[in-house]
């Protein structure tokens, strides 16, 4: 059992198999992000009205591939790595069924390549949602199915790893909160992938002619049971990473294990109902169904996110105050390690996800308000706040952390790395806010030309809509550049970074070949429980600064929510 390597910097133990698998998943994720970023540039430069770069067919092809590479491949490859980290590394246990794990990876890789090939062959520009009866080439769907099966295997390897840890008693007490969050993500993933199979397998059979008809409304409802739930995997995963980074960079512990775990549990119970968010202006769906489902049964999943919104920064604040940063409300925040990209990306992600992603999500998911937002460019604004800043920036921060720890390389360009989260978060925020504005003025998403060139009739958007789209375009270009900075730093560090001992060669890092056998001689002890802390603050407010921030969030939320009702009240009466 000498299959473990001790990381001298962090004290983490890496199982040989888990380490190799995390590396290959991380590399596949980063390559997907590279492709997605290049495609984003084409999309952004086309929607920037003054540039309008690509012809229509290429634009729709790029947009389809951008959605799939960014939202599915980059994020899910990375999430499987996180599952193995939260299972094997955090619990100090060997990975279950490594051969199955490699099979899962191979399927994901083959699937990702297959779908990309289908898209770039040109006959599958059907957008990520591939709404029937528009049809893609059969291997478009087949690639997605293979990818999903691979991811499902990864989930079960993770579950198996938990079982081994339990039976071999590798940890004391309960699993760490971060692992608990990862379990949440994996459970939601199983539901998500099952929904995906229910709709994509018949759609694949339809594309090769075995099934004659797929009901388009049924497709929408079930597809979104996958499509939206997969974003909830991301939420559970990146909230777990927030807790992880708070622990790694500040030594933070959860304010209350009970509260944080309860909030994760709410995700499992209620997030799946979100399919309804996409069906609010569809024909023939009852108001009761819409209200119950779109609100996750009375907004209980929103409640969960609002809880994490307090407890993640609250845990950071408590940890900082214990270090002596107790002056005023916000000294803990000013003196936070802003120069550490793992921390800064987490905090920026937390703020933008909460203030923009969360609030816009609730607003546009309100049954009636949706009709002034559905399919406008406000929608991608919302999900860039949740997945591009929320999930992607969080994962970027974790990737910076993993370069020395997992890949044993010193990070190159440390100054650029220090600024990268601010650049990416800032430019994405510009993109998001101005797309929101343009969406409010009615600009359509997934649309090649807001001038409607070639149409028999004409319609002109306001000059303001053009201005907003132009500024959004600038934000997008800067975001792509700062995403490029991330890739430059991570890939460059793998290739040229100074090797840290014990160190893998570059080929080893890329191919996931384990380090030489003698590196793996550490035998982990049982993972101990966290040190007990003296009772503190249960009578008073232990994180007052965070509470003030939370109240600012609440007030913004209330104001923006009712502004949108006011806007809705101004449109034509409908009944």
């Amino acid at each position: 059992m000498s299959n473990f390597r001790l990381c001298p910097d962090t004290g983490l133990f890496f199982d040989k198999n888990a380490e190799s698998l995390m590396k290959v998943h991380a590399v596949a994720a980063v390559v997907s992000l590279l492709v997605a970023g290049l495609l984003a540039l084409g999309v952004a430069l086309t929607r920037w009205p003054a540039v309008h770069l690509l012809p229509a067919d290429q634009f729709y092809m790029f947009l389809t591939a951008h959605g799939i590479d960014a939202l599915l491949f980059w994020i899910i490859f990375f999430e499987i790595a996180i599952l193995y980290f939260a299972g094997s590394t955090l619990l100090r246990v060997r990975l279950a069924a490594p051969k199955w794990a490699w099979l899962g990876f191979a399927l994901m890789l083959i699937g990702a390549v297959t779908t990309n090939v289908a898209i770039f062959q040109g006959n599958s520009s059907v957008m990520m949602t591939s709404y029937v009866p528009m049809q893609a080439a059969p291997h478009f769907y087949l690639g997605l199915i293979l990818f999903a099966v691979g991811a499902l295997i990864g989930c079960f390897v993770f579950f198996g790893t938990l079982v081994i840890a339990k039976t071999e008693n590798t940890y004391e007490g309960s699993v760490p909160l971060v692992t608990f969050g990862a379990i949440t993500a994996a459970i939601i993933a199983v539901f998500t992938i099952a929904s995906g199979a229910i709709i994509l397998v018949p759609t694949f059979l339809w594309s090769i002619g075995y099934i004659s008809h797929i009901d388009p409304e049924m497709y929408r409802i079930i597809w979104w049971a996958m499509g939206h739930s997969s974003q909830q995997i991301n939420v559970a995963a990146h909230v777990s990473v927030w807790y992880l980074v708070a622990g790694l960079t500040l030594g933070a512990r959860p304010m209350s294990e009970k509260v944080s775990r309860f909030a994760f549990l709410l995700y499992i119970f209620f997030l799946q109902l979100a399919s309804a968010h996409h069906i609010l202006v569809d024909p023939g769906v009852s108001a009761e169904w819409k209200i119950f489902n779109t609100s996750y049964a009375m907004y209980l999943a929103v409640l969960a996110s609002m809880i994490h919104g307090l407890t993640v920064p609250g845990a950071m604040e408590v940890a900082q105050r214990e270090k002596g940063y107790t002056h005023g409300l916000f000294e803990w925040l000013r003196k936070a390690p802003w120069g550490n990209p793992a921390f800064s990306s987490t905090f920026i992600s937390l703020v933008i996800f909460g203030f923009i992603g969360g609030i816009t999500g609730v607003v546009m998911g309100t049954e009636q308000i949706n009709l002034i937002i559905h399919n406008t460019i406000y929608v991608p604004a919302h999900f860039h706040a949740t997945v591009a800043v929320g999930t992607t920036l969080t994962f970027m921060g974790l990737a910076f952390f993993l370069i020395p720890v997992l890949f044993r390389r010193q990070m190159i360009l440390p100054t650029l790395a220090k600024w990268q989260p601010f650049l990416f978060g800032g430019s994405m925020t510009v993109l998001i806010l101005f797309m929101m504005g343009a969406g409010t003025l009615g600009v359509s998403r997934r649309h090649w030309d807001m001038d409607f060139a070639g149409a028999a009739l004409s319609f002109e958007y306001s000059g303001m809509a053009y201005t907003l789209m132009g500024i959004a375009g600038i934000g997008a270009v800067v975001a792509v550049i700062s995403g490029g900075a991330f890739l430059l730093i991570t890939v460059g560090s793998l290739l040229f970074g100074k090797k840290l001992e014990p160190s893998a060669g570059i080929l080893q890092s890329f191919l996931g070949v384990p380090l030489s056998a003698d590196t793996y001689n550490a035998k982990p002890e049982i993972l101990p429980m966290a040190a007990p802390v003296e009772e503190h603050g249960s009578a008073g407010f232990e994180a007052p600064g965070t509470f003030v921030l939370a109240m600012v969030l609440l007030v913004s939320f209330i104001v923006y929510y009712f502004i949108n009702w006011k806007y809705l009240a101004s449109v034509w009466p409908l009944s």
Binding site: R253, T366, T376, F541
Partner: protein, 180 residues
């Protein structure tokens, strides 16, 4: 001490929750309930609610209904394509047909009057997006959606397709006139 170690107390679920969290969870829960009840509230007191009236249909059934309205109420045609402009009586059933890549026909409505607007697609999914008033509906083939609309501001409105429907998607532009 950290979030990635097992909880410090083995029986962590018996550790009391701090006051700050209890206060926040209470406030957040109240806000969530307000969010929830705003939707039924708007059904009672708001003026913008969607009807849930819809029928299964087919292009062969829907097309003739649209044509019947066009035959009866066309007042003129526009553009080289001779797109009919239809002015049906207030309160009547009016039809808009979505197909690659056209909204058919042009509707001319009276301000402040209510119409029963039927929407369906002959082929793929489309998005009925009336601009600049910014009302957006999903149009799904095989389903006929019926909305009671009361245009209350006169003007010329564009009907943008905002569900991607192939290479000519951006040319799919219709029109609704609302007359004083």
């Amino acid at each position: 001490m950290t979030s990635y170690l097992p909880p410090a107390q083995r029986i962590w679920w018996n550790v009391p929750v701090g006051r700050q969290e209890i206060v926040w969870i209470t406030i957040a829960l109240i806000w969530c309930l307000i969010l929830f009840f705003m939707m039924p509230y708007w059904h009672v007191y708001g003026k913008q609610n969607l009807s849930t009236e819809a029928y299964k249909t087919t292009p062969a059934q829907y097309g003739p209904k649209v044509q019947a309205m066009i035959d009866k109420y066309t007042v003129r045609t526009e553009t080289e394509q001779q797109i009919p402009v239809v002015a049906p009586p207030a309160g009547s059933d009016i039809y808009m047909l979505a197909r690659l890549w056209q909204w058919w026909p042009i509707l001319e409505l009276e301000k402040g009057k209510t119409y029963r607007l039927h929407l369906s697609s002959m082929d793929w999914q489309h998005g009925f997006s009336v601009q600049p008033v910014n009302i957006n509906m999903q149009v799904v083939p095989g389903y006929e959606m019926v909305l009671n609309i009361t245009p209350d501001v006169a003007g010329e409105y564009g009907v943008v397709c905002n569900e991607y429907c192939g290479i000519g998607h951006h040319t799919m532009l219709g029109r609704i006139y609302v007359k004083e």
